[in-house]
């Protein structure tokens, strides 16, 4: 560690975040050192436009070293020359982040193997970078972007050539009730040889939109980044803002948040396991999962007034004490536990179902590590990584739980990891309800300190989510960067489906259950 710190221009420490500002020549070396020598995981990489404060664009790469609750953040300021050395050749997990930085800020990663646009589609004007502070665009240009007819920077799909290879384009509008995305299969007979997803159809300019509202209103937007992870997203966002403002939330608020996070995980995991049955045509399993999920959703509605637990989080704490309704929660959880056990028995006892899951959509550990896969998908491929364990927050250090892993990396493993985690969530909920917690529901925060920043994170049902917030001179948002788990996991899907047959694609896709909206920002 010393080597990097000695070369640093500036270092800054804030809670468990260590910011190390380096020169351009040392940037790559520092990142590669952390990744190669320390086996650090790349959590997040982003740029900011700090020309107002510091006369520079800055690039932040956030690493966490396994075994320590610390984030090493390598910062690279870019003043006149808007080119930075790409770390993708050494750290493949950075490949999307760097392309995104190029799209949104116009900073070019030199040496990146694939400089096609990622976020913005073909008809978006060239040399126009939405996240720059001085960006503006004319109404006709915006209209033209929407019409999508003129290609400003044409996107070329990867071409696979050879005897018997043909292409199947699918989407963006799909057959089911799901989100939009385009998939291009290159198949040989029924077997998928190569898949290229083209996403970001639901790009809503969320990060820029955060900058137009106050930090306090931002909670509502964070809840609406990804529907089924509403509560985790808002928790991570609130945590970031609270850390920035330097306040510690009360034990009670922590308990409520932990409980709701686990409730969210539970309904998602059970719903996902049920959904996988839709992929294998097991209607009774699909219906069974949906019924248990609905029960939990209705519980959510009684607790929070929203089936997606919206409106519970606020900066400084929570808006309601759900421990008053502990009996209701306990009743439902007891019922659900029983039904869930029967449900899992039914699934694991149905050979036709299990056979479809086994050896389908295999993601090797090697690739998962290289691409920085997170959450259920990572644990099912044998990576023992769970933010609740790696960076304990809320009440997770007081709770007794295990991060479940499985080595086989197929659809079956992803189902079983979910199943075990769901049971784990049930026991955590029971444990949380046994105790009493002290403190107010929410601490009051009036003002956000100017020119400060902080990181917030938690584990969503899909994997880790990160928020990084920074305030400007007036205490308003200068930058809100979020990284949903789906953003890390999407690039892994093509590897998982390689060699499978096209009809198994929906099943593989459901086993990852990735959010498009969360990924597309």
């Amino acid at each position: 560690m010393e080597e990097i710190i000695n070369k640093a221009v500036k270092t800054k420490r804030l809670f468990n975040e260590l910011y190390i500002e380096v020169r351009k020549d040392d940037f790559k070396e520092a990142c590669v050192y952390l990744y190669g020598k320390k086996r650090a995981i790349l959590r997040l990489m982003f740029a900011t436009d700090e020309r107002e404060i510091d006369t520079a664009f800055k690039i932040y790469t956030v690493f966490s070293v396994p075994g320590t609750d610390k984030f090493h953040i390598i910062v690279l300021p870019l003043k006149d020359d808007l080119i930075f050395p790409s770390i993708t050749p050494d750290i493949p997990a950075a490949h999307w982040y760097e392309r995104e930085i190029r799209d949104m800020f116009g900073l070019t990663p030199k040496g990146h193997p694939d400089l096609r646009r990622l976020v913005l589609h073909d008809s978006f004007p060239c040399n126009s970078f939405p996240l720059r502070k001085d960006w503006n665009i004319t109404e006709p240009e915006l209209k033209e972007w929407g019409k999508g007819l003129v290609q400003k920077e044409p996107y070329s799909f990867m071409k696979v050539e050879g005897e018997g290879i043909y292409e199947i384009p699918v989407g963006p509008v799909h057959a089911g009730i799901i989100e939009p995305g385009h998939f291009r299969f290159s198949a040989v007979g029924e077997t998928i040889f190569f898949l290229e997803p083209r996403l970001f159809y639901t790009h809503k300019g969320t990060e820029k939109h955060f900058e137009s509202m106050s930090f306090f209103d931002g909670v509502k937007l964070a809840e609406r980044v990804s529907g089924t992870s509403s509560f985790s997203h808002s928790t991570a966002y609130c945590m970031a803002v609270e850390r920035m403002a330097g306040i510690e939330i009360t034990e009670k608020a922590k308990a409520v948040r932990t409980l709701l996070l686990e409730l969210e995980r539970l309904y998602n995991h059970i719903g996902d396991i049920g959904n996988m049955c839709a992929g294998t045509g097991l209607a009774v399993g699909y219906a069974g999962g949906a019924v248990i999920k609905e029960k939990l959703m209705q519980l959510n509605e009684r607790l929070a007034g929203s089936r997606y637990l919206r409106g519970m989080n606020e900066i400084g704490g929570v808006s309601k004490d759900i421990f008053i309704q502990a009996d209701d929660i306990l009743n439902i959880i007891n019922e659900v536990t029983k039904e869930y056990k029967d449900f899992m028995k039914l699934l694991t006892g149905t050979v036709s179902h299990i056979e479809r899951l086994e050896n389908t959509g295999r993601l090797s550990k090697d690739i998962a590590v290289k691409l920085g896969v997170t959450g259920v998908a990572a644990r099912a491929s044998g990576i023992n990584d769970d933010i609740r364990k790696a960076h304990p927050h809320l009440l997770y250090d007081k709770l007794d739980f295990e991060a479940h892993t499985m080595a086989r990396g197929d659809v079956f493993a992803r189902m079983m990891v979910r199943a075990e985690e769901a049971e784990c969530s049930i026991s955590m909920i029971n444990a949380l309800l046994e105790n009493r917690y002290k403190g107010e529901l929410a601490a009051s925060i009036k003002e956000i300190p100017p020119c400060s920043s902080a990181l917030g994170y938690t584990e969503t049902p899909r994997g880790s989510v990160f928020y990084w917030v920074m305030s400007d001179k007036n205490g308003r948002p200068l930058r809100v960067k979020f990284r949903s788990p789906s953003y890390c996991n999407w690039p892994a899907v093509p590897f998982a489906v390689h060699g499978n047959i096209v009809p198994d694609f929906p099943l593989c896709n459901k086993s990852f259950n990735l959010s498009y909206s969360g990924c597309d920002m």
Binding site: I177, Y201, T202, T206, H209, K220, A290, Q298, G349
Partner: protein, 176 residues
């Protein structure tokens, strides 16, 4: 599996308590009766919906999916979600219409045979909702294609969507 089938045959109980709204209020029962009548009358017992996500956060979609679960089970009224716009009577559109989805939405709409009904579902689809004003959205479906009916809520829960469809049918009765 056999146990499950046996249980289904021998017990007459619902798997889950019907949502309060459904079970208690006589109005909601009336909603359902009206819904059934309307669909029988206007749509000849079958209403086919094509759902399109035009940039939603996915919560609205999950509520639409929930409509087909054993609790709400809208298939019993002859309503179903179909895979192709060519089979649809009605387009149910969610999300604020992101600019990158605009073209796809228009094309899907054109692929739906006339007469078609276009419903904007969720606050986002109505006027952009929380995303109103962002550079990458067009602030609601009506800015892109003509909308016949709106269902509000963020997300509208399954019951609200059912009530929305019922109201739509009543509105159609007056119109037709």
């Amino acid at each position: 599996m056999i146990k499950q089938i046996f249980k289904n045959l021998t017990t007459r109980k619902n798997t889950i308590d019907v949502p309060e709204l459904l079970a208690l209020s006589p109005e909601s029962v009336a909603h359902f009766v009206n819904l059934q009548k309307g669909i029988d009358g206007i749509f000849n017992r079958s209403l086919r919906i094509r759902q399109i996500d035009a940039g939603s956060c996915n919560a609205c979609e999950w509520e639409c999916t929930a409509l087909t679960n054993p609790i709400y089970d809208i298939q019993r009224f002859g309503i179903d979600f179909v895979a192709s716009p060519r089979h649809a009577d009605m387009l149910l559109i969610t999300g604020p219409v992101s600019r990158q989805m605009e073209l796809a939405l228009k094309k899907t709409c054109l692929a739906t045979p006339e007469p078609r009904i276009v419903v904007a579902c969720g606050d986002c689809a109505v006027d952009g909702g929380i995303y109103k004003g962002s550079y990458a959205v067009t602030n609601g479906v009506s800015n892109i294609i003509p909308v016949d009916f709106y269902i509000q809520g963020c997300p509208p829960n399954p019951m609200q969507i059912i009530i929305g469809i019922k109201e739509l049918i009543e509105y159609l009765k007056v119109k037709v």
